[in-house]
């Protein structure tokens, strides 16, 4: 029974739109995190001296610390961005999709 509904959803263009857009969005954000994270690790492994430099002459803030603090904040902001869009736009689309698939049954 539910298989029929799944089939109806699958052929609905809205499903393709949902899967395509949300997938692209999620992978874009994941790629940003992975690239920044492993890029930073490469710097730690191969250019440790650079990260220990102060951000400006005479400052106590080291480049590494500053960059990492920003990454903490930035990664968390990315989760905010994802959750807002997924729980808003994408979930609305999902709800429509399910409603349409169920309505057809009648």
């Amino acid at each position: 029974m539910s298989s029929v509904i799944y089939e109806r959803m699958r052929v609905n263009p809205k499903f393709q739109k949902l899967v395509h857009e949300r997938g692209r969005f999620a992978w874009t954000l994941a790629t940003i995190v992975l690239v920044l994270f492993y890029g930073f690790f490469m710097l730690v492994a191969f250019k440790p001296g650079l990260l220990g430099q102060p951000i400006a002459e005479g400052s106590m803030w080291a480049i590494g610390y500053t960059v990492e603090l920003c990454m903490f904040v930035f990664f968390w902001l990315l989760t905010v961005v994802y959750v807002r869009r997924a729980n808003g736009e994408f979930d609305d689309l999902t709800a429509e999709l399910i409603k349409e698939a169920q309505k057809e049954r009648l």
Partner: protein, 554 residues
């Protein structure tokens, strides 16, 4: 230096939720009985027992027992996940690491943190939409129930048991230090309290114990920081100037040290942490306690917010400790500044609490550390029990014919069994170097649970044959790599040289699991494999939309 870092790293591995401490072996000295801590801990126990009593009235169905009926909100679950993730080892181990190595501790914290956004973007929603009680629900969704569930349950139990032993031994040592209680008494207290929480209160009680503990930890850590940081006028510049002036690393305090000197170990460790977390049964189980994908996403949002905040607090705590603890003879054996810290390196956070907040704050933080261990152990026991009762008993042995009553009864027996096992093994392993067990737990989680789980969600071509080869290949290779590495082959078995040069198995065992799963799925042309691939279509729609997913029962 490298040795100390390695042991600090091992300790930190634990902190993916854990606690224990090779670095604690420094002094097995029993501390004088700490009455402030014991009284505050008793208050915590009384409170959580009240909750367990309340929860036991609400734990009637299997869904209540395993997943709190799916009635936990995203915010509550976020706190609980953060609680699972921020353990006693996080507070004690990472503070200690910052205290000795400065900036390296901070790099480590980012590695712990960065896994969470990835879990959110790629896994949270599908986990929630496909799973019900255990992650084996997802891997066996369209594959052979009996075989794939058995495999998933075995690798879950391997992870849980090794992790549990590491926790118990760490708990005993930590409690001996903090509370001045005998090691065996500490083990019994942890084991018995855990059995009470889980058997009576199931996931409802386990979650609330975790939430209360997370709040206590956040509050205690932040308060200690405010008191300590006020001594430097809340100025990072002042703090760093003073810290660099007295620390043996001097101006190099804020530069990367030897942590990632070996890129292969670093990469393997990073992979193991990131994907091991995404393969730990008790973490995965948390995604089934919320009502829908919306709440699952919010859980990660809150959890990563709390975790990220707390890591930054801990880093500053470590820096403050360099001056406040590191320059105070009261905290060194024989009163020699720069000598051996009383109770070992992991006591730095506790000494800092005492220095800035007196015995009250020290007692509070010690109680928080004990509560943390209890909460993590309870989560582990519940995850292990569900693998036994839901996967093996109800689905494999009884083939779905067992009543809910029977299933819950089995899971209660399983919890008691795991509790007793944890007590016995905790006592047996007291004097052993248990650091490798955590590596093993993370290695198996990353190399056996994670690859099969992610492939079953993302790859249509996965068949039963591929999943079994990938899963068992991952378990066996992760175990082999750990056994042949220095931490077991040399340190435990007493051989001269390690046969496998790296201590972290993930970088090598994960590809084996993925390649096996791929090759043996691709070459699988049996009639069953065709049906399995076709069944992916429906699974895919459900994973994306949540239609047909098990909802909240309350």
């Amino acid at each position: 230096m490298t040795r100390r870092l390695t042991s600090a790293l091992t300790l930190l591995l634990l902190s993916g939720l854990a606690c224990a401490g090779p670095a604690m072996d420094a002094s097995g000295v029993k501390q004088p009985t700490n009455w402030h801590a014991i009284i505050m801990f008793l208050i915590f126990v009384a409170m959580t027992m009240g909750i367990t009593y309340w929860a036991s009235g609400r734990t009637k169905s299997t869904a209540d027992f395993y997943t709190a009926g799916g009635g936990i909100t995203g915010f509550q679950n976020g706190l609980a996940i953060a609680g699972d993730y921020m353990s006693a080892a996080t507070l004690l181990g990472l503070t200690a690491m910052t205290y000795t190595s400065g900036y390296d501790g901070y790099i480590y914290m980012l590695a712990f943190f960065a896994g969470w956004p990835i879990i959110l973007f790629l896994m949270a929603e599908r986990l929630r939409n496909l799973g019900r009680f255990t992650f084996a629900d997802i891997t066996s969704y369209r594959l052979d129930q009996g075989k794939v569930r058995t495999m998933a349950a075995i690798s879950s139990l391997v992870v849980v048991v090794f992790y549990l032993i590491a926790q118990m031994v760490g708990a005993g040592q930590l409690i001996k230090l903090l509370f001045g209680l005998d090691y065996n008494i500490a083990i019994f207290v942890v084991g018995i309290l855990m059995m009470v929480y889980v058997t009576l209160g199931g996931m409802v009680a386990t979650t609330w114990v975790q939430i209360i503990k997370a709040c206590m930890l956040l509050f205690g850590g932040t308060l200690t920081l405010l008191l300590a940081y006020s001594q430097f006028g809340f100025s990072l510049t002042t703090l760093l100037e003073k810290a660099e002036a007295v620390h043996k690393l001097g101006p190099k305090l804020m530069a990367p040290g030897s942590l990632l000197a070996d890129p292969i170990t670093a990469l393997s460790l990073g992979l193991g942490l990131m994907f091991g977390t995404a393969g730990l049964p008790h973490i995965l189980m948390r995604f089934f306690t919320v009502g829908n994908a919306k709440e699952a996403r919010k859980s990660v949002l809150y959890a990563s917010g709390f975790v990220g905040f707390f890591f930054n607090v801990i880093f500053l705590l470590g820096l403050c400790a360099i001056i406040i603890v590191g320059q105070n003879p009261e905290f060194f054996e024989g009163g020699v500044v720069g000598g051996k810290i009383i109770g070992g390196g992991n006591m730095v956070a506790m000494h800092l609490a005492k220095a800035v907040g007196g015995n009250m704050l020290l007692g509070f933080l010690a109680a928080v550390a004990f509560a943390t261990i209890l909460a993590v152990v309870s989560g582990l026991a519940l995850a292990g029990a569900s693998a036994i009762s839901h996967d093996i008993y109800a689905r494999v042995i009884r083939k779905g014919e067992a009543t809910e009553k029977e299933e819950i009864r089995v899971s209660r027996y399983a919890t008691i069994g795991l509790g007793l096992l944890a007590i016995v093994l905790g006592i047996l392993f007291e004097k052993m170097n248990i650091a490798f067990m955590v590596g093993l737990a993370f290695g198996v989680a990353a190399a056996a649970n994670f690859p099969v789980l992610i492939l079953s969600m993302y790859w249509q071509g996965l068949t039963t044959r591929g999943a079994l080869w990938g899963g068992y290949g991952g378990v066996i290779s992760a175990v082999m790599f750990v056994v042949l590495s220095k931490s077991v082959w040399v340190d435990v078995l007493g051989n001269k040289a390690a046969l496998f040069p790296y201590t972290q198995p993930a970088l090598f065992a994960m590809p084996i699991a993925f390649i096996f799963a791929y090759v043996f799925s691709k070459s699988d042309t049996g009639p069953r494999s065709k049906l399995e691939k076709e069944a992916f279509e429906d699974q895919y729609v459900r994973a994306q939309t949540g239609f047909g997913a098990s909802g909240a029962s309350h």
